[in-house]
Assembly symmetry: C3
Homo-oligomer: 315 residues x 3
Amino acid sequence: MKKLLTALCLSAALTGLTAATALAASATPTAATGSAKHALVLQTDFGTSDGAVSAMRGVAYGVDAGLTVADLTHDIPDYDIWVGGYRLFQTANYWPEGTVFVSVIDPGVGTTRKSVVLKTKAGRYFVGPDNGQFTLIAERDGVAELREIDESINRRAGSGESYTFHGRDVYAYVGARLASGAISYEQVGPALPSESVIRIAYQKAANNNGTLRGIIPVLDVKYGNVWTNIPKQLFEQLGVKEHEQVQVRFFHNKKLVNTVVAPYEHTFGGVAKGKPVLYLNSLLDVAIALNQGNYAAKNKIESGVDWEVEIRKVK
Amino acid sequence: MKKLLTALCLSAALTGLTAATALAASATPTAATGSAKHALVLQTDFGTSDGAVSAMRGVAYGVDAGLTVADLTHDIPDYDIWVGGYRLFQTANYWPEGTVFVSVIDPGVGTTRKSVVLKTKAGRYFVGPDNGQFTLIAERDGVAELREIDESINRRAGSGESYTFHGRDVYAYVGARLASGAISYEQVGPALPSESVIRIAYQKAANNNGTLRGIIPVLDVKYGNVWTNIPKQLFEQLGVKEHEQVQVRFFHNKKLVNTVVAPYEHTFGGVAKGKPVLYLNSLLDVAIALNQGNYAAKNKIESGVDWEVEIRKVK
Amino acid sequence: MKKLLTALCLSAALTGLTAATALAASATPTAATGSAKHALVLQTDFGTSDGAVSAMRGVAYGVDAGLTVADLTHDIPDYDIWVGGYRLFQTANYWPEGTVFVSVIDPGVGTTRKSVVLKTKAGRYFVGPDNGQFTLIAERDGVAELREIDESINRRAGSGESYTFHGRDVYAYVGARLASGAISYEQVGPALPSESVIRIAYQKAANNNGTLRGIIPVLDVKYGNVWTNIPKQLFEQLGVKEHEQVQVRFFHNKKLVNTVVAPYEHTFGGVAKGKPVLYLNSLLDVAIALNQGNYAAKNKIESGVDWEVEIRKVK
């Protein structure tokens, strides 16, 4: 009897300790492998009017029912690799470290472009075609590693005959497996040289003797505000104080298309309705707007690496 | 040996009890503080074509990876405080008690408008600029408390220099901390007088001797149906039976712009295709539509506090 | 003292074992009843510009705060039962077994159409009006069971007076209860004969002596690609090799409206920009496109059961 009691007590102690340990471990959400789960964020140029994006989500939840699957946007203009890359650049670092982004803007599907997962030094993952869309992310955050997706193991079972929907059968699938912890980053596929990531050439922000130069990487589409890639730190070198005038010149393919003189303000409300204003946008880059108006539409400004700006302080 | 056994048994008992207690507590999803988690619902006039809303979501998930973050809509017309407020009014009480709504329609960003979290007597929370957008919610559900957001503690770390994206750096951040239980409502910031919440003046629904008066708070945008703020209980006072005729007059800035005679029906199918019908909408308010047509577009009707209606029973 | 110790040890053992058992059970997410939770996927023709869809989500989360609620699309063209049904067909089987789809395209609301939950032999559930929208799902996946929703028990508490929003008060509510495990499928309501599900008649894909026949069930709306219902297996019967020419004729209401000769390629990139191409789409059905162009817009092609195609190999 005493031996029985002893055995019972010892097993109770063991069970209790095991339970307590498991509880402590489960305080952080875990997948079967024990790695933490991360959010999966989707971006495409598919739009949301048909079943394409939903099929990607379904595949992701099929990999792991507990995943957080969120959208960046699916309204990237058709085939616009540069804008897609800029939206990643605009958004990614507001998401927790370890977040996995799947970005499918893929006019080169079926050609020789590689399918990759890029890991930045900031600790986030980017899944998609390596076609230049990771230019800004790679430049700002640095490439820690670049891996080519091994489609022999990282492809939705049963797919393989569909040539046009890598978004669902490869990218969403791999992204979900990585985000859920079902595979490690190493298991994505073979490493490529970090410096081999495809980069699109463009005019980087610079100060040439008091003339700031840069491009219009994107428009703030809803309002027609014109964003530049000129950061606050560079702008401050001009020594422009709040309410002081600035001259901005816009060029398309090197031809001058628009000039404006506007004050530097902290908010749109710093000028009258309909008037132009220069301000720092939500990424702390220089931007130009009309207060409650559409600067881009009114002045026929568009965006892309062929749209450049020059900014000077008005004496 | 006996003492060791005793000690072992006691600790086993303790561990087991602790484990069992923790398990019982964890049956309800909890954040570190032990408070229950609530859903976070986002509304803006940003649209979903760029990274702005996704950055808000990223900040929310960064506060708590297990949060439910859902959208109300991001298609509020630019700067339209009244429509944004109506969408909250239309939707909020279908969400569970404790739900936290973040509504960012903020033409006054950077001016003296306050950033608040309003708690209604119905037990839901509303985060955003206090610019009149909470008019209808406050009126229907009552203000239990109003607190100003203390941005010295309730602001995303590292922000503070960006003047134009309170949506991401203050509102989404505070909303997520509140929804996840990371902070209590009291920790949002100092209390303001409940009656000080900004309210937009408008014609409330009334019965003047058999003429019902009210406004067109919003259109059912997809179909062009014209919604009023006249509730079922008031309409019933006219004693109109199903299929009986009603006269509706629409005014803009007090000028008559459209008159229609239509039957009161339970559904659109109660009249022929293209014909007008008066019905009770999904909020049980009086509304006017064309069966499978667009009443608002056809008759140039818009919405807002300057659009009024008069409804009479046709003898 | 000894008896106390014994009692303590035994209860410790019991507690520990209970805790361990509970932990093991909780490894799979469960609802109160012990059934597994499934995803809830929503589709409507409501658009996302107002509060209608958000109200449906709120009701779903109110049923179970831990539900995964995702969207298929809310941009189904107004009242377009056929397109809604096609989107379910296009998407559903990429979601895990047990997923519950709520599809609300309901021009017949308030009339005698039934509200049902269909269970396919593929193990997925479809909630909505039985108005023909389940035609393709039923045909491809087979109807395991069909049940009419018993609205006396499966209706949001407090609703019952609103005649126009079954999406929120019945369908989202029932869908959430089923997906969360709060009710079993049998508890939805009484069984109807499986073969009684409403089906829309249309030209099924066929090979008539080397001429393939079928319809244009839908357009790939974003790009204007023309999808057919002619599957790969049927197309292969023509013996067309990659790069070989195919003739396609499009008919509207039996009248020929467009003819094209195009090569069969694996991707759009197989032809020059702006040129027509025949390919297999993401469902492995035959489709026609212009590489980086809009075939449907350019040739005035639309979709629906009154749009037919004939495809022949060019000798």
